[in-house]
Amino acid sequence: MGRKNWLIMLGAAIFIGVFPWLVMPFKAVSHYVDVMVFAGIFSLVCIGLSLLMGYAGQISLAQAAFFGIGAYTSGILTSKFGVNPWLAMGGGTVVCATVAWVVGVPSLRLKGHYLAMATLGFGVIVNIIFAEEVNWTGGPSGMIDIPYLRMFGRKITSDLAWYYLVWGIVFLVLIFCFHVLHSRVGRALRAIHEDERAAESVGVPTAGFKVRVFMLSAVLASIAGSLYTHYVTCLNPSSFNLMWSIRFVLMVMVGGMQSLWGALVGTVLMTFVGNEWLQVFAELEILAYGAILLVVALFLPGGIVSIGGFRRKRRQSALEGAGT
């Protein structure tokens, strides 16, 4: 990955590292750490989605479903079968990857609205299953008593520990994804996005790659879901409904699909907007949320990262990246 991306990553890592110490002394913003834990969890979903949307050019309105499949797999395995949470997390990724493959192979032949529709339908079906399979999932009242995550023999309960754990994983995933993007595979993805026919002509199995990116995004959502499960220790189908799938797409859109940084910026921003900053509007919050979306979609189609010519930088760093 390029030098610029490393620099940005270093900056971001430093910021994330000191953030809790910046906000904790101030009571009014001390709970921002909690918001950031959720932002981190959602970031994992959105990084995957950004790969799918921005690089493979496919839309998915089913990310919340994968998020939920990961979460429920973890929840069920740990609370009902006593499986080690980390193993359960792995189990979740396997389940998600399999489901994504089964759904992805027929879906990804579709495009545009049709693909949006197919993924949306799948997402809603999964949510109905969460609500209906009461014996497994606890149904609409939810699943409780999910064990905490343990690391080095200790329970992870403090918000600060969660914060660093989640963001640590986010950065590992980011590095992984940047490496993927600046490789043979990443080039192939960009090629598919630019011209599918030409990509096929140089031997890129476009359908296969799309399915694999879809699977990767599902796996990332699954990891996020497992983390969510053990953080909240309670699961409810409404955390994984269509509204959340739409929210994830919006986070990526608002940040900018052209780069993974966009997904990150958009997720953090929208998590704060949705949970914090709009609360001053009270009942008007829903209007403010809609208005922000509208403004971004109309006037900033490239997302927030397109504001400062960020996209051009990415372009250059990608070139450098090709050399490393």
Binding site: V29, D34, F38, E132, T157, D159, E285, S306
Partner: protein, 392 residues
């Protein structure tokens, strides 16, 4: 150029919002003479359960104003901090954390629904802040050993179901068909119906479900009808319970009496269902039927007061849900009055609440029971001439 303008605009907007947030969090309570007492509240004011959260919020705000008009709690003004969780467990979780960390409240009331309540039980427990939920599920307060800091003011569904089954037995009903909405409210009700039926010698011959936004329940009712039960039980909140009444009537199922859950306890439902609702039977908390109670009923006074002032202020009838907020607010206020803003002391005080006369009953909390209600706190009610009447 354009993007530069956008950038500036967004930055300014961000700064304004931050400034507003900071101002808000600092600005309140400056004028108070004595340190204000805080109560944190999380309700589902919007989203799927907004029909619950809305009256809860209104009730809580009304009580705050009443208390402050009377000079606060021992001279301490009452500060009520309400967050909307949008009926979303994630948002609810964050809201409770915010109440604990940012607002440092010594006691929290809400959330409105079982799903959201369960999502924050762990948070309150971990932070050791007492939480008085307004939702019904027994899972919220059991087992008590791991739910030391959690209370709830809504009667458990087992009380409601028990009351209903008692009444059914007296009416010689032995086979019932149930239909429940597939959200937390309906799922929890269904669980209790299925669990308790054998104890009362009742057989469930049909078990149907539907979505909270369904537009037609004829199919479910038709299926129930063909199972030939002695009664139908519908368990939901919101428009579907009115729909159930209408469809039940339209299908000509009058001979199979329709029982509703306590969720039906809102005069608006009677208005919407109109004539179709005649004869519907349901167990109801006394808050909904204040005027039907005999004058010597201990709850009569508080219920009539609440009914009157709520109606005056908001021009709408009270509902069960507002009643929950009333109970939780007053339990919290009583604790604050007795022991001051110390979470641990408040917890102990709430746990020892005895004979607290509330809207939903007379609470008898104990270390074994963090709810304090029983099925005796409910009344069986039948709809007669578009009004509630006590069922005989």
């Amino acid at each position: 150029m354009k993007s530069a303008k956008n950038l500036i605009g967004l930055t300014v907007l961000g700064l304004l919002i931050t400034a507003a947030v900071l101002f808000w969090s600092k600005g309140e309570g400056i004028a108070a003479e004595k340190e204000p007492y805080k109560i944190g509240a999380v309700f589902s004011i919007t989203g799927g359960a907004s029909l619950l959260g809305e009256p809860e919020k209104k009730t809580a705000e009304m009580i705050r104003d009443e208390i402050n008009k009377q000079g606060g709690i021992d001279g301490h003004p009452l500060e009520l901090i309400i967050y909307d969780d949008e009926t979303d467990p994630t948002k609810c979780n964050l809201a409770v954390k915010k109440l604990i960390k940012k607002d440092e409240v010594p006691v929290i009331i809400g959330p409105s629904t079982s799903g959201t309540s369960l999502a924050v039980v762990g948070v309150a427990e971990e932070a050791q802040v007492p939480l008085v939920s307004c939702a019904a599920s027994y899972k919220i307060v059991t087992p008590v050993e791991t739910h030391k800091w959690i209370f709830k003011v809504a009667g458990s569904d087992s009380h409601v179901v028990g009351k209903m089954f008692d009444y059914m037995k007296s009416k010689k009903v032995s086979k019932i068909g149930i239909m429940t909405v597939s959200d937390g409210f309906g799922a929890s009700g269904r669980e209790e119906l299925v669990r308790l039926a054998p104890e009362y010698g009742i057989t469930i011959v049909a078990d149907e479900r539907y979505g909270p936004q369904d537009t037609d329940l004829s199919a479910q009712l038709t299926k129930i009808r063909s199972a030939q039960p002695d009664a139908v039980v519908n368990w939901s909140t919101g428009p579907t319970q009115v729909l159930a009444v209408k469809n039940w009537r339209d299908l000509g199922m009058d001979k199979i009496p329709l029982y509703q859950s306590h969720g039906f306890g809102n005069l608006k439902n009677l208005e919407l269902a109109g004539k179709a609702a005649e004869g519907v039977i349901l167990p109801l908390a006394r808050v909904n039927v204040g005027n039907l109670l005999p004058d010597d009923q201990p709850q009569k006074k508080v219920i009539m007061e609440y009914t009157k002032s709520y109606d005056e202020r908001y021009k709408e009838p009270v509902s069960s849900f507002g009643g929950h907020a009333w109970d939780s607010m007053h339990i919290a206020i009583a604790a604050l009055k007795a022991v001051g803003p110390d979470p641990a002391k408040i917890r102990d005080h709430i746990e020892n609440t005895k004979d607290f006369v509330g809207q939903h009953g007379i609470f008898k909390m104990s270390p074994q029971d963090h709810n304090g209600l029983s099925k005796d706190d409910l009344e069986m009610v039948v709809v007669k001439d578009g009004k509630w009447a006590l069922a005989k």
